[in-house]
Protein backbone atom coordinates (compact mmCIF):
# COMPACT_ATOMS: atom_id res chain seq x y z
CA UNK A 1 0.00 0.00 0.00
CA UNK A 2 2.64 2.50 1.06
CA UNK A 3 4.89 1.60 -1.85
CA UNK A 4 2.03 2.18 -4.31
CA UNK A 5 0.97 5.58 -3.03
CA UNK A 6 4.49 7.00 -3.20
CA UNK A 7 5.19 7.61 -6.95
CA UNK A 8 1.73 9.01 -7.78
CA UNK A 9 2.27 12.72 -7.04
CA UNK A 10 5.24 12.88 -9.42
CA UNK A 11 3.07 11.54 -12.26
CA UNK A 12 0.29 14.02 -11.66
CA UNK A 13 2.68 16.92 -11.92
CA UNK A 14 3.85 15.91 -15.44
CA UNK A 15 1.30 16.44 -18.23
CA UNK A 16 0.86 20.21 -18.12
CA UNK A 17 3.74 22.21 -19.66
CA UNK A 18 2.28 22.61 -23.21
CA UNK A 19 -0.53 25.11 -22.44
CA UNK A 20 1.53 26.76 -19.71
CA UNK A 21 4.11 28.10 -22.21
CA UNK A 22 1.55 30.24 -24.05
CA UNK A 23 0.03 31.52 -20.84
CA UNK A 24 3.45 32.41 -19.55
CA UNK A 25 4.35 34.46 -22.64
CA UNK A 26 1.07 36.39 -22.46
CA UNK A 27 1.65 36.93 -18.74
CA UNK A 28 5.19 38.12 -19.44
CA UNK A 29 3.97 40.69 -21.97
CA UNK A 30 1.40 42.08 -19.56
CA UNK A 31 4.05 42.23 -16.88
CA UNK A 32 6.45 44.11 -19.16
CA UNK A 33 3.75 46.65 -20.05
CA UNK A 34 2.99 47.16 -16.36
CA UNK A 35 6.68 47.72 -15.60
CA UNK A 36 6.93 50.32 -18.38
CA UNK A 37 3.82 52.09 -17.08
CA UNK A 38 5.14 52.13 -13.52
CA UNK A 39 8.47 53.63 -14.71
CA UNK A 40 6.60 56.33 -16.66
CA UNK A 41 4.15 57.03 -13.81
CA UNK A 42 6.20 59.59 -11.92
CA UNK A 43 7.48 61.61 -14.95
CA UNK A 44 3.93 61.65 -16.37
CA UNK A 45 2.55 62.95 -13.07
CA UNK A 46 5.21 65.70 -12.87
CA UNK A 47 4.61 66.65 -16.52
CA UNK A 48 0.83 66.85 -16.02
CA UNK A 49 1.36 68.98 -12.92
CA UNK A 50 3.70 71.34 -14.81
CA UNK A 51 1.22 71.69 -17.72
CA UNK A 52 -1.79 72.26 -15.45
CA UNK A 53 0.08 74.94 -13.48
CA UNK A 54 1.52 76.63 -16.60
CA UNK A 55 -1.87 76.63 -18.36
CA UNK A 56 -3.31 78.71 -15.50
CA UNK A 57 -6.00 76.10 -14.94
CA UNK A 58 -5.12 76.51 -11.27
CA UNK A 59 -3.58 79.44 -9.41
CA UNK A 60 0.19 78.99 -9.96
CA UNK A 61 0.96 80.88 -6.76
CA UNK A 62 -0.93 78.28 -4.71
CA UNK A 63 0.02 75.31 -6.91
CA UNK A 64 3.51 76.12 -8.14
CA UNK A 65 4.74 74.02 -11.09
CA UNK A 66 7.54 71.50 -10.48
CA UNK A 67 10.14 73.79 -12.03
CA UNK A 68 9.40 76.43 -9.41
CA UNK A 69 9.52 73.80 -6.65
CA UNK A 70 12.89 72.59 -8.00
CA UNK A 71 14.21 76.18 -8.00
CA UNK A 72 13.04 76.68 -4.40
CA UNK A 73 14.72 73.47 -3.36
CA UNK A 74 17.96 74.42 -5.06
CA UNK A 75 17.92 77.74 -3.16
CA UNK A 76 17.18 75.86 0.04
CA UNK A 77 20.14 73.56 -0.42
CA UNK A 78 22.47 76.39 -1.50
CA UNK A 79 21.63 78.53 1.54
CA UNK A 80 22.85 75.71 3.81
CA UNK A 81 19.53 75.63 5.65
CA UNK A 82 18.61 72.30 4.08
CA UNK A 83 21.44 70.39 5.73
CA UNK A 84 20.72 72.01 9.08
CA UNK A 85 16.97 71.30 8.79
CA UNK A 86 17.52 67.71 7.69
CA UNK A 87 19.99 67.02 10.50
CA UNK A 88 17.76 68.63 13.13
CA UNK A 89 14.72 66.59 12.06
CA UNK A 90 16.66 63.34 11.72
CA UNK A 91 18.22 63.81 15.15
CA UNK A 92 14.77 64.21 16.73
CA UNK A 93 13.36 61.18 14.90
CA UNK A 94 16.34 58.96 15.65
CA UNK A 95 16.59 59.93 19.31
CA UNK A 96 12.84 59.57 19.92
CA UNK A 97 12.64 56.31 17.97
CA UNK A 98 15.58 54.66 19.69
CA UNK A 99 14.48 55.70 23.19
CA UNK A 100 10.85 54.78 22.55
CA UNK A 101 11.75 51.42 20.99
CA UNK A 102 14.16 50.35 23.71
CA UNK A 103 11.73 51.31 26.49
CA UNK A 104 8.78 49.81 24.59
CA UNK A 105 10.52 46.46 24.08
CA UNK A 106 11.77 46.20 27.68
CA UNK A 107 8.42 47.10 29.23
CA UNK A 108 6.55 44.97 26.68
CA UNK A 109 8.56 41.85 27.54
CA UNK A 110 7.89 42.45 31.26
CA UNK A 111 4.13 43.08 30.90
CA UNK A 112 3.68 40.32 28.34
CA UNK A 113 5.33 37.67 30.47
CA UNK A 114 4.97 38.72 34.11
CA UNK A 115 1.46 39.19 35.49
CA UNK A 116 2.58 41.68 38.12
CA UNK A 117 3.92 44.14 35.54
CA UNK A 118 0.86 43.67 33.33
CA UNK A 119 -1.37 44.52 36.30
CA UNK A 120 0.80 47.50 37.23
CA UNK A 121 1.20 49.12 33.81
CA UNK A 122 -1.60 47.68 31.68
CA UNK A 123 -4.52 49.91 32.78
CA UNK A 124 -2.44 53.12 32.75
CA UNK A 125 -0.99 52.39 29.31
CA UNK A 126 -4.36 51.46 27.83
CA UNK A 127 -5.67 54.83 29.03
CA UNK A 128 -2.75 56.89 27.68
CA UNK A 129 -2.15 55.03 24.44
CA UNK A 130 -5.20 56.33 22.49
CA UNK A 131 -4.39 60.02 23.19
CA UNK A 132 -2.96 61.42 19.91
CA UNK A 133 0.63 62.61 20.50
CA UNK A 134 -0.22 65.95 18.81
CA UNK A 135 -2.57 66.68 21.71
CA UNK A 136 0.43 66.80 24.01
CA UNK A 137 2.01 69.75 22.20
CA UNK A 138 0.61 72.43 24.56
CA UNK A 139 1.67 70.65 27.74
CA UNK A 140 5.05 69.74 26.26
CA UNK A 141 5.68 73.46 25.62
CA UNK A 142 4.85 74.17 29.24
CA UNK A 143 7.05 71.34 30.48
CA UNK A 144 10.07 71.71 28.25
CA UNK A 145 9.71 75.14 26.64
CA UNK A 146 11.30 75.20 23.20
CA UNK A 147 14.14 72.83 24.16
CA UNK A 148 15.00 69.77 22.08
CA UNK A 149 13.99 67.51 24.98
CA UNK A 150 10.32 68.31 24.38
CA UNK A 151 10.53 67.37 20.70
CA UNK A 152 12.32 64.10 21.40
CA UNK A 153 9.74 63.45 24.11
CA UNK A 154 6.85 63.76 21.63
CA UNK A 155 8.45 61.31 19.18
CA UNK A 156 9.26 59.00 22.07
CA UNK A 157 5.64 59.15 23.22
CA UNK A 158 4.30 58.15 19.80
CA UNK A 159 6.83 55.34 19.34
CA UNK A 160 6.72 53.90 22.85
CA UNK A 161 3.09 52.77 22.96
CA UNK A 162 3.15 51.21 19.52
CA UNK A 163 6.30 49.24 20.29
CA UNK A 164 5.10 48.34 23.78
CA UNK A 165 1.80 46.95 22.48
CA UNK A 166 3.35 44.90 19.68
CA UNK A 167 5.98 43.52 22.07
CA UNK A 168 3.37 42.74 24.73
CA UNK A 169 1.19 40.87 22.23
CA UNK A 170 4.17 39.21 20.53
CA UNK A 171 5.50 37.93 23.84
CA UNK A 172 2.12 36.43 24.72
CA UNK A 173 2.00 34.72 21.32
CA UNK A 174 5.43 33.08 21.61
CA UNK A 175 5.12 29.39 20.73
CA UNK A 176 4.55 27.47 23.98
CA UNK A 177 6.65 24.66 22.50
CA UNK A 178 9.74 26.90 22.43
CA UNK A 179 9.18 27.95 26.04
CA UNK A 180 8.74 24.34 27.17
CA UNK A 181 11.81 23.24 25.23
CA UNK A 182 13.86 25.96 26.92
CA UNK A 183 12.41 25.02 30.34
CA UNK A 184 13.26 21.35 30.07
CA UNK A 185 16.81 22.27 29.05
CA UNK A 186 17.18 24.17 32.33
CA UNK A 187 17.14 27.73 30.96
CA UNK A 188 17.17 30.15 33.92
CA UNK A 189 14.36 32.69 34.21
CA UNK A 190 16.31 35.76 33.15
CA UNK A 191 17.75 34.06 30.07
CA UNK A 192 14.25 32.78 29.25
CA UNK A 193 12.94 36.37 29.14
CA UNK A 194 15.76 38.10 27.30
CA UNK A 195 16.70 35.32 24.91
CA UNK A 196 13.89 32.84 24.25
CA UNK A 197 10.86 35.09 24.81
CA UNK A 198 12.40 38.18 23.22
CA UNK A 199 13.65 36.37 20.11
CA UNK A 200 10.48 34.27 19.93
CA UNK A 201 8.48 37.51 19.82
CA UNK A 202 10.92 39.28 17.48
CA UNK A 203 8.87 38.75 14.29
CA UNK A 204 5.88 40.53 15.89
CA UNK A 205 8.03 43.19 17.57
CA UNK A 206 9.56 44.07 14.21
CA UNK A 207 6.10 44.78 12.76
CA UNK A 208 5.46 47.21 15.62
CA UNK A 209 8.86 48.84 15.11
CA UNK A 210 8.14 49.36 11.43
CA UNK A 211 4.81 51.03 12.22
CA UNK A 212 6.68 53.14 14.77
CA UNK A 213 9.04 54.40 12.02
CA UNK A 214 6.08 56.03 10.26
CA UNK A 215 4.63 57.25 13.56
CA UNK A 216 7.91 58.91 14.48
CA UNK A 217 7.57 61.09 11.35
CA UNK A 218 3.96 62.02 12.19
CA UNK A 219 5.02 63.03 15.68
CA UNK A 220 8.03 64.90 14.30
CA UNK A 221 5.57 67.27 12.61
CA UNK A 222 3.76 67.78 15.92
CA UNK A 223 7.09 68.28 17.67
CA UNK A 224 8.21 71.00 15.24
CA UNK A 225 4.78 72.62 15.57
CA UNK A 226 5.66 73.07 19.24
CA UNK A 227 8.10 75.80 18.31
CA UNK A 228 11.48 75.10 16.72
CA UNK A 229 14.41 76.95 15.19
CA UNK A 230 15.21 74.46 12.46
CA UNK A 231 13.76 71.31 10.94
CA UNK A 232 11.96 70.18 7.82
CA UNK A 233 8.47 70.96 9.05
CA UNK A 234 9.68 74.20 10.71
CA UNK A 235 10.90 75.25 7.24
CA UNK A 236 7.49 74.43 5.71
CA UNK A 237 5.76 76.60 8.34
CA UNK A 238 8.11 79.53 7.73
CA UNK A 239 7.66 79.23 3.97
CA UNK A 240 3.88 79.19 4.40
CA UNK A 241 4.02 82.43 6.39
CA UNK A 242 6.06 84.01 3.56
CA UNK A 243 3.80 82.61 0.81
CA UNK A 244 6.78 80.67 -0.60
CA UNK A 245 4.66 77.82 -1.88
CA UNK A 246 7.52 76.32 -3.91
CA UNK A 247 9.44 75.89 -0.67
CA UNK A 248 6.35 74.39 1.02
CA UNK A 249 6.01 71.75 -1.65
CA UNK A 250 9.74 71.09 -1.57
CA UNK A 251 9.53 70.51 2.16
CA UNK A 252 6.61 68.13 1.78
CA UNK A 253 8.51 66.23 -0.88
CA UNK A 254 11.58 65.82 1.35
CA UNK A 255 9.44 64.69 4.29
CA UNK A 256 7.74 62.10 2.07
CA UNK A 257 11.01 60.82 0.60
CA UNK A 258 12.71 60.66 3.98
CA UNK A 259 9.81 58.75 5.53
CA UNK A 260 9.74 56.36 2.57
CA UNK A 261 13.49 55.76 2.76
CA UNK A 262 13.30 55.16 6.51
CA UNK A 263 10.45 52.68 6.07
CA UNK A 264 12.16 50.73 3.29
CA UNK A 265 15.50 50.85 5.05
CA UNK A 266 13.95 49.50 8.21
CA UNK A 267 12.14 46.75 6.31
CA UNK A 268 15.45 45.64 4.77
CA UNK A 269 17.15 45.76 8.14
CA UNK A 270 14.30 43.81 9.76
CA UNK A 271 14.60 41.02 7.19
CA UNK A 272 18.21 40.59 8.27
CA UNK A 273 17.51 40.88 11.97
CA UNK A 274 14.79 38.22 11.97
CA UNK A 275 16.18 36.22 9.07
CA UNK A 276 14.62 32.98 10.30
CA UNK A 277 11.13 34.27 9.59
Amino acid sequence: MRALTQPVPADIAEPRPAPAVKRRSRGALARRINIAVSVASLPLFVLAWELVARAHIVNAVLFPPPTVVAQAMADWVRSGDFTADLLASCARVVAGFVLGSVCGVIVGVLTGRIGFFAALFGPVFQLMRPIPPVAFVPIVILWFGLAETGKVFLVFWGVFFTVWLSTHLGVQKVDRGLIRAAQMLGTPRRRMLWEIVLLGAAPTIVIGLRTAVSISFYTLVAAELAGAFSGLFYRIEIAQQNMETGQVFGGLLVLGLLSLLADRGFAALARRLVWWR
Binding site: R2, R180, Q183, M184, L185, G186, T187, L199, A202
Partner: protein, 262 residues
Amino acid sequence: MSAAIEVDDVTIAFDTAKGLLLAVDRVSFQVRRGEFVCLLGPSGCGKSTLLNAIAGFERPYAGHVRVGGAEVTAPGPDRGVVFQQPNLFPWKSVRANIAHGPRVRGASRAEAGAIADRLIATVGLTRFADASPHTLSGGMQQRVAIARALANEPEILLMDEPFGALDAQTRAIMQENLLQLWSSISATVVFVTHDIEEAILLADRVIVMTAGPGRILETLEVGLERPRAVEASADPRFVALKRHCFELIRRESAQAFEKSAA
Protein backbone atom coordinates in the same frame (compact mmCIF):
# COMPACT_ATOMS: atom_id res chain seq x y z
CA MET B 1 14.99 -2.05 43.03
CA SER B 2 14.25 1.69 42.97
CA ALA B 3 11.81 3.17 40.50
CA ALA B 4 13.08 5.95 38.27
CA ILE B 5 9.55 7.33 37.87
CA GLU B 6 6.58 6.82 40.17
CA VAL B 7 3.13 7.87 39.06
CA ASP B 8 1.01 7.46 42.16
CA ASP B 9 -2.79 7.72 41.94
CA VAL B 10 -2.55 10.73 39.62
CA THR B 11 -5.63 12.66 38.52
CA ILE B 12 -5.28 15.57 36.12
CA ALA B 13 -8.16 17.89 35.28
CA PHE B 14 -8.44 21.01 33.16
CA ASP B 15 -10.57 24.05 33.82
CA THR B 16 -12.72 24.58 30.76
CA ALA B 17 -15.75 26.73 29.96
CA LYS B 18 -17.94 23.70 30.67
CA GLY B 19 -16.33 23.04 34.05
CA LEU B 20 -13.62 20.62 35.08
CA LEU B 21 -12.57 18.21 32.36
CA LEU B 22 -11.06 15.00 33.65
CA ALA B 23 -8.07 14.11 31.46
CA VAL B 24 -6.35 11.47 33.60
CA ASP B 25 -8.28 9.50 36.21
CA ARG B 26 -6.36 7.93 39.13
CA VAL B 27 -3.49 6.44 37.16
CA SER B 28 -0.63 4.62 38.89
CA PHE B 29 2.46 2.98 37.42
CA GLN B 30 6.20 2.83 37.96
CA VAL B 31 9.07 2.87 35.53
CA ARG B 32 12.26 1.05 36.44
CA ARG B 33 15.67 2.65 35.94
CA GLY B 34 16.82 2.05 32.36
CA GLU B 35 13.43 0.77 31.22
CA PHE B 36 11.74 1.75 27.96
CA VAL B 37 7.99 2.18 28.52
CA CYS B 38 5.41 3.13 25.92
CA LEU B 39 2.11 4.79 26.80
CA LEU B 40 -0.25 3.57 24.10
CA GLY B 41 -3.76 4.80 23.51
CA PRO B 42 -6.14 6.64 21.21
CA SER B 43 -5.92 10.42 20.89
CA GLY B 44 -7.51 12.20 23.83
CA CYS B 45 -6.70 9.45 26.32
CA GLY B 46 -4.52 11.73 28.42
CA LYS B 47 -1.25 10.01 27.62
CA SER B 48 0.44 13.27 26.58
CA THR B 49 -1.01 15.00 29.64
CA LEU B 50 0.49 12.30 31.81
CA LEU B 51 3.86 12.75 30.10
CA ASN B 52 3.61 16.52 30.66
CA ALA B 53 3.03 15.85 34.35
CA ILE B 54 6.25 13.80 34.51
CA ALA B 55 8.05 16.55 32.59
CA GLY B 56 6.72 19.13 35.06
CA PHE B 57 4.68 21.17 32.54
CA GLU B 58 1.38 20.18 34.20
CA ARG B 59 0.62 19.76 37.90
CA PRO B 60 -1.64 16.86 38.90
CA TYR B 61 -5.00 17.74 40.42
CA ALA B 62 -4.48 14.90 42.87
CA GLY B 63 -1.84 12.26 43.41
CA HIS B 64 1.94 12.38 43.11
CA VAL B 65 4.55 12.18 40.39
CA ARG B 66 8.01 11.38 41.70
CA VAL B 67 11.25 11.21 39.79
CA GLY B 68 14.18 9.62 41.63
CA GLY B 69 12.04 9.72 44.78
CA ALA B 70 11.48 13.51 44.65
CA GLU B 71 8.14 15.14 43.85
CA VAL B 72 8.06 16.78 40.40
CA THR B 73 7.22 20.48 40.71
CA ALA B 74 8.75 22.01 37.57
CA PRO B 75 10.53 21.06 34.36
CA GLY B 76 14.21 20.34 34.78
CA PRO B 77 17.32 19.22 32.92
CA ASP B 78 17.20 15.77 34.55
CA ARG B 79 14.25 15.03 32.23
CA GLY B 80 14.92 15.60 28.53
CA VAL B 81 11.77 16.03 26.44
CA VAL B 82 11.25 15.41 22.73
CA PHE B 83 7.96 16.92 21.55
CA GLN B 84 5.70 16.01 18.66
CA GLN B 85 6.91 19.19 16.93
CA PRO B 86 10.70 19.62 16.91
CA ASN B 87 10.36 23.02 18.72
CA LEU B 88 13.90 23.97 17.73
CA PHE B 89 15.02 27.55 18.34
CA PRO B 90 14.73 28.92 14.79
CA TRP B 91 17.38 31.62 15.30
CA LYS B 92 20.03 29.11 16.34
CA SER B 93 22.07 26.76 14.19
CA VAL B 94 21.81 23.00 14.69
CA ARG B 95 24.97 23.08 16.83
CA ALA B 96 23.76 26.03 18.94
CA ASN B 97 20.38 24.35 19.50
CA ILE B 98 22.08 21.26 20.88
CA ALA B 99 24.63 23.27 22.86
CA HIS B 100 21.90 25.40 24.49
CA GLY B 101 21.27 23.00 27.40
CA PRO B 102 24.91 22.64 28.49
CA ARG B 103 25.49 26.39 27.94
CA VAL B 104 22.65 27.58 30.19
CA ARG B 105 23.82 25.12 32.83
CA GLY B 106 27.23 26.71 32.94
CA ALA B 107 29.37 24.81 30.44
CA SER B 108 31.95 26.89 28.58
CA ARG B 109 31.44 27.58 24.90
CA ALA B 110 34.13 25.01 24.03
CA GLU B 111 32.70 22.31 26.32
CA ALA B 112 29.16 22.80 25.05
CA GLY B 113 30.40 22.84 21.44
CA ALA B 114 32.24 19.55 21.98
CA ILE B 115 29.12 17.94 23.48
CA ALA B 116 27.05 19.22 20.56
CA ASP B 117 29.51 17.99 17.93
CA ARG B 118 29.60 14.52 19.46
CA LEU B 119 25.78 14.31 19.46
CA ILE B 120 25.54 15.73 15.94
CA ALA B 121 27.79 12.88 14.80
CA THR B 122 25.66 10.37 16.76
CA VAL B 123 22.49 11.45 14.96
CA GLY B 124 24.32 11.62 11.63
CA LEU B 125 24.02 15.34 10.91
CA THR B 126 27.68 16.40 10.83
CA ARG B 127 27.24 18.01 7.41
CA PHE B 128 24.41 20.15 8.78
CA ALA B 129 26.01 21.34 12.04
CA ASP B 130 25.93 25.00 10.99
CA ALA B 131 22.62 24.79 9.14
CA SER B 132 19.55 26.64 10.25
CA PRO B 133 16.74 24.32 11.48
CA HIS B 134 14.20 25.49 8.89
CA THR B 135 16.47 24.26 6.08
CA LEU B 136 16.21 20.66 7.39
CA SER B 137 13.55 18.04 6.70
CA GLY B 138 11.08 17.04 9.42
CA GLY B 139 13.00 13.86 10.25
CA MET B 140 16.31 15.70 10.47
CA GLN B 141 14.76 18.37 12.70
CA GLN B 142 13.47 15.66 15.01
CA ARG B 143 16.97 14.12 15.17
CA VAL B 144 18.29 17.53 16.25
CA ALA B 145 15.52 17.69 18.88
CA ILE B 146 16.56 14.27 20.23
CA ALA B 147 20.22 15.30 20.31
CA ARG B 148 19.26 18.53 22.10
CA ALA B 149 17.29 16.59 24.72
CA LEU B 150 20.27 14.27 25.28
CA ALA B 151 22.85 17.07 25.55
CA ASN B 152 22.20 17.49 29.29
CA GLU B 153 22.73 13.72 29.74
CA PRO B 154 19.31 13.38 31.38
CA GLU B 155 18.51 10.24 33.36
CA ILE B 156 15.05 10.30 31.86
CA LEU B 157 13.99 10.87 28.28
CA LEU B 158 10.33 11.74 27.70
CA MET B 159 9.07 11.45 24.13
CA ASP B 160 5.63 12.71 23.10
CA GLU B 161 4.70 11.10 19.75
CA PRO B 162 8.01 12.33 18.35
CA PHE B 163 7.58 10.53 15.02
CA GLY B 164 3.84 11.19 14.66
CA ALA B 165 4.28 13.95 12.07
CA LEU B 166 6.75 12.01 9.90
CA ASP B 167 6.00 9.90 6.83
CA ALA B 168 6.00 6.10 7.21
CA GLN B 169 9.46 5.45 5.74
CA THR B 170 11.17 8.16 7.79
CA ARG B 171 9.34 6.97 10.88
CA ALA B 172 10.66 3.41 10.46
CA ILE B 173 14.23 4.70 10.09
CA MET B 174 13.84 6.97 13.12
CA GLN B 175 12.54 4.07 15.22
CA GLU B 176 15.59 1.97 14.41
CA ASN B 177 17.90 4.93 15.04
CA LEU B 178 16.27 5.53 18.40
CA LEU B 179 16.69 1.88 19.44
CA GLN B 180 20.35 2.01 18.47
CA LEU B 181 20.89 5.29 20.30
CA TRP B 182 19.09 4.03 23.40
CA SER B 183 21.23 0.89 23.56
CA SER B 184 24.31 3.14 23.86
CA ILE B 185 22.94 5.29 26.70
CA SER B 186 21.44 4.29 30.03
CA ALA B 187 18.41 6.58 30.03
CA THR B 188 14.96 5.60 31.22
CA VAL B 189 12.47 6.32 28.42
CA VAL B 190 8.74 7.07 28.50
CA PHE B 191 7.45 7.18 24.95
CA VAL B 192 3.89 8.25 24.08
CA THR B 193 2.31 6.90 20.89
CA HIS B 194 -1.00 5.89 19.36
CA ASP B 195 0.77 3.48 16.96
CA ILE B 196 0.51 -0.14 18.23
CA GLU B 197 3.43 -1.44 16.14
CA GLU B 198 5.65 1.43 17.21
CA ALA B 199 4.90 0.74 20.87
CA ILE B 200 5.67 -3.00 20.61
CA LEU B 201 8.79 -2.47 18.53
CA LEU B 202 10.32 0.03 20.96
CA ALA B 203 9.16 -0.84 24.44
CA ASP B 204 10.07 -3.23 27.23
CA ARG B 205 6.60 -2.62 28.55
CA VAL B 206 3.48 -1.18 26.91
CA ILE B 207 0.90 0.58 29.08
CA VAL B 208 -2.40 0.58 27.18
CA MET B 209 -4.70 3.47 28.08
CA THR B 210 -8.37 4.22 27.41
CA ALA B 211 -9.91 7.51 26.50
CA GLY B 212 -12.27 9.88 28.30
CA PRO B 213 -11.08 10.02 31.04
CA GLY B 214 -7.62 8.43 30.69
CA ARG B 215 -7.18 5.20 32.64
CA ILE B 216 -4.81 2.26 32.39
CA LEU B 217 -6.47 -0.65 30.62
CA GLU B 218 -3.65 -3.16 30.73
CA THR B 219 0.12 -3.37 31.02
CA LEU B 220 1.93 -5.73 28.64
CA GLU B 221 5.47 -7.07 28.93
CA VAL B 222 6.85 -7.18 25.39
CA GLY B 223 9.63 -9.68 26.08
CA LEU B 224 11.09 -9.64 22.56
CA GLU B 225 14.88 -9.87 22.62
CA ARG B 226 17.05 -6.92 21.73
CA PRO B 227 18.54 -5.57 19.58
CA ARG B 228 15.33 -5.26 17.58
CA ALA B 229 14.85 -4.00 14.06
CA VAL B 230 11.74 -3.25 12.03
CA GLU B 231 11.81 -6.92 10.86
CA ALA B 232 10.76 -7.92 14.39
CA SER B 233 7.20 -7.12 13.33
CA ALA B 234 7.11 -10.47 11.50
CA ASP B 235 7.85 -12.41 14.72
CA PRO B 236 4.78 -14.47 15.79
CA ARG B 237 5.01 -13.07 19.34
CA PHE B 238 4.98 -9.55 17.92
CA VAL B 239 1.92 -10.38 15.83
CA ALA B 240 0.16 -11.90 18.83
CA LEU B 241 0.88 -8.82 20.98
CA LYS B 242 -0.29 -6.57 18.22
CA ARG B 243 -3.54 -8.48 17.83
CA HIS B 244 -4.07 -8.39 21.59
CA CYS B 245 -3.56 -4.59 21.74
CA PHE B 246 -5.80 -4.10 18.76
CA GLU B 247 -8.59 -6.12 20.39
CA LEU B 248 -8.23 -4.21 23.66
CA ILE B 249 -8.48 -0.85 21.98
CA ARG B 250 -11.28 -1.94 19.65
CA ARG B 251 -13.40 -3.34 22.45
CA GLU B 252 -12.85 -0.17 24.44
CA SER B 253 -13.72 2.20 21.61
CA ALA B 254 -16.83 0.14 20.77
CA GLN B 255 -17.96 0.54 24.39
CA ALA B 256 -17.21 4.25 24.28
CA PHE B 257 -19.16 4.52 21.05
CA GLU B 258 -22.20 2.75 22.54
CA LYS B 259 -21.98 4.93 25.64
CA SER B 260 -21.94 8.12 23.58
CA ALA B 261 -24.73 6.86 21.30
CA ALA B 262 -27.02 5.86 24.17
